[in-house]
């Protein structure tokens, strides 16, 4: 029997005792152990999680709270959520490269409701009716600035699919990709009588379906927009040769539409029936610990003692779900002041929301240093293998997806790392919540390993994550 990674399913036989998980073969811990003075490691697997603080109720399904996250090594320091079930992250099972349907819990975007806006028309029971003669561009658009609007990053191919049926003299429909995301040159006109397609700046097709047509179009984003509709369905004045903003002459035409689907990247539509129905051909699902970006966090059950080293290496496999606010992926300190942070480190996701980044910090006796992924480099949503390397007597380096991104070497004043609580998901359990998911995490005290070892550890994490 093969597990979801295509390897022999040895977990079932080896995890009879739930708190002594053993990673088969190519273990992250085995890679990182040589030369370390302290090593803790965590992987998102139900076998390592419990729903209760007493560790009597194992996590068995997606959506369950994680109150205890055991170490990859028996007897190693565990993460716990000590006081509150609402603060606990929850288990999730997603395709390893991410979930590609933008809309939770449904295959279809709703065709009515607050998520949509109408210009120059009305939308009743799925019927779009033009009613304003002066409008040049009667549309029904996926609304901007709301929760359905995905704040699409640059360079992502967006697929649209919708069913339409001509009513009341309509012969031409247009899909216009939003100018703020796609520029002004991406649109397609559909002749609802002949089945002819005229696409500009995008791909498009149409096939008969259920008395109407299934229209499909896809285009690549050219900007990250803070506002603006991702796309609009337009009544195009029955002019097949019309431009992106068709001339408008009359009123009263109608178009019935529905079954709208939206998907990201070069993948077929993913049939997401529910939050947990995420299986997709060729994309194995993996487990994640989901931190909701509101109040979820965990802390090491006992302090982590890194006093034996002035160097630390932090490896994480994570999926940042939002860049809207500063988020704490991991932090070796409960608070911010430098005086209390000597000998600490932290990893933010993001550090600066506008820069869509990750950043790693270390604090020595006299000051701090940081290195990050760089502005605009890793916009959410995106899975990444993140590595922070810190030497309090030397430099701080940041790697992402197997590549060195930045090194910084201001004087930190030396010293050694301290003994303190390790937090994930929220600074000190109080602020800067992470809106994202964690798949793997390892903290290694001791001399920073050589590049071959670092790359092996990153590859080990990426074997599950599929980030690069």
């Amino acid at each position: 029997m093969l597990n979801v990674y295509g390897r022999p399913d040895v977990f079932g036989g080896m995890l009879a005792v739930n708190d002594t998980p053993v990673d088969p073969g190519d273990s992250l811990m085995e890679i990182l152990r040589p030369g370390s003075v302290k090593l803790v490691g965590y992987r998102a697997e139900p076998a390592q999680w419990y729903q209760d603080l007493a560790a009597t109720l194992p996590v068995t399904a997606p959506g369950q709270p994680i109150r205890v996250w055991t170490n990859l090594e028996a007897g190693g320091i565990r993460f716990i959520q000590p006081t509150n079930a609402d603060f606990a992250p929850v288990s999730r099972l997603w395709p390893r490269t991410g979930r590609h349907n933008l809309f939770n819990r449904q295959t279809e975007v709703p065709t009515v409701g607050a998520s949509w806006g109408v210009t120059g028309g009305t939308m009743v029971d799925g019927i779009l009716t033009e009613n304003t003669a002066s409008s040049a561009h009667n549309t029904f658009a996926l609304g901007s600035n709301n929760a359905w609007s995905p704040n699409l990053p640059i360079g992502v191919r967006v697929y649209l699919s919708m069913w339409v049926k001509a009513e009341a003299d309509t012969t031409v429909a247009q899909i216009a990709f939003g100018a703020t995301y796609f520029g002004t040159g991406s649109f397609v006109n559909f002749d609802l009588v002949s089945g002819e397609v005229s696409a500009t700046g995008c791909n498009a097709s149409m096939v008969p379906e259920a008395g109407g047509w299934r229209l499909k179009a896809d285009a690549v984003t050219t900007a990250t927009a803070a506002s603006g509709a991702p796309f609009a369905l337009c009544l195009a004045d029955n002019n097949f040769a019309a431009g992106r903003v068709p001339a408008y002459a009359g009123m009263g035409r109608q178009l019935e539409w529905g079954k709208v689907q939206v998907a990201l990247s070069d993948r077929p539509y993913q049939n997401v029936i529910s939050a947990n129905e995420v299986y997709q051909a060729g994309v194995p699902p993996i487990w994640w610990a989901y931190f909701d970006g509101v109040d979820d966090w965990m802390q090491s059950e006992t302090p982590l003692d890194l006093t034996g080293s002035d160097q630390v290496s932090v490896f994480a496999g994570a999926r940042k779900l939002s860049d809207a606010a500063q988020g704490t992926l991991v932090e070796f300190s409960p608070n911010a002041p430098l005086a209390a942070n000597r000998g600490s480190f932290l990893l933010r996701a993001p550090q600066i929301p506008a820069q869509l980044d990750y950043q790693f910090f270390c604090y020595g006796e006299e000051g701090g240093a940081s290195a990050g992924s760089g502005s605009g480099s890793l916009p959410a949503p995106d899975a990444a293998v993140i590595t922070g390397l810190g030497n309090l007597s030397g430099a701080v380096s940041f790697r992402a997806n197997g590549t060195l991104r930045a090194t910084s070497s201001p004087a930190m004043g030396g010293g050694v790392f301290k003994e303190d609580t390790l937090y994930i998901g929220r600074r000190g359990g109080l602020s800067l919540p992470l809106n994202g998911m964690v798949q793997s995490l390892a903290v290694r005290g001791g001399p920073i390993p050589d590049v071959t070892t670092i790359e092996a550890a990153e590859a080990n994490i990426n074997e599950r994550l599929g980030a690069y």
């Binding site: 603080l53 509150n84 929850v90 509101v294 600074r427």
Partner: protein, 129 residues
């Protein structure tokens, strides 16, 4: 379990009551669910927000005064300082719909916490560190 996101208006009485309700629902071992008003509505009013998985029993019990009668009896010994009046205030202010408003505890069930927060009409108070 279903994810529930709750916004409590930044009123000490409501916050105290909501924290007590969470303990009564066995969602928390401490009165710390709502401590920091990190969210605001369009008018600038502040709110404490929690989000997490709730059981059907917890969802049904949160607005039902009778649901806590036995629990309160049991819990009195564990928490001598328990404030029963604040529980009643919180239950009376609790509503299963948005938007968040002053004087109200508003809750929305959604798999996506941030969709729920949008429906509650809230945005984060940015406190970058």
């Amino acid at each position: 379990m279903r994810r529930v996101t709750v916004a409590v208006a930044n009123d000490p009485v409501l916050i105290r009551g909501a924290n007590h309700v969470h303990v009564l629902l066995s969602k928390a071992e401490a009165f710390n669910t709502y401590e920091s008003a990190d969210w605001r509505d369009a008018e600038g009013n502040l709110y404490c927000v929690s989000s997490g998985p709730w059981t059907d029993v917890q969802i049904a019990g949160v607005t039902d005064p009778s649901a806590f009668e036995q629990v309160i009896s049991d819990i009195s010994e564990q928490y001598p300082e328990f404030d029963f009046e604040s529980v009643q205030v919180a239950q009376a202010a609790f509503q299963w719909e948005g938007p968040a408003m002053p004087g109200r505890i508003a809750a929305i069930e959604s798999e996506d916490a941030h969709y729920a927060i949008y429906e509650l009409g809230l945005s984060p108070v940015v406190r970058e560190e």
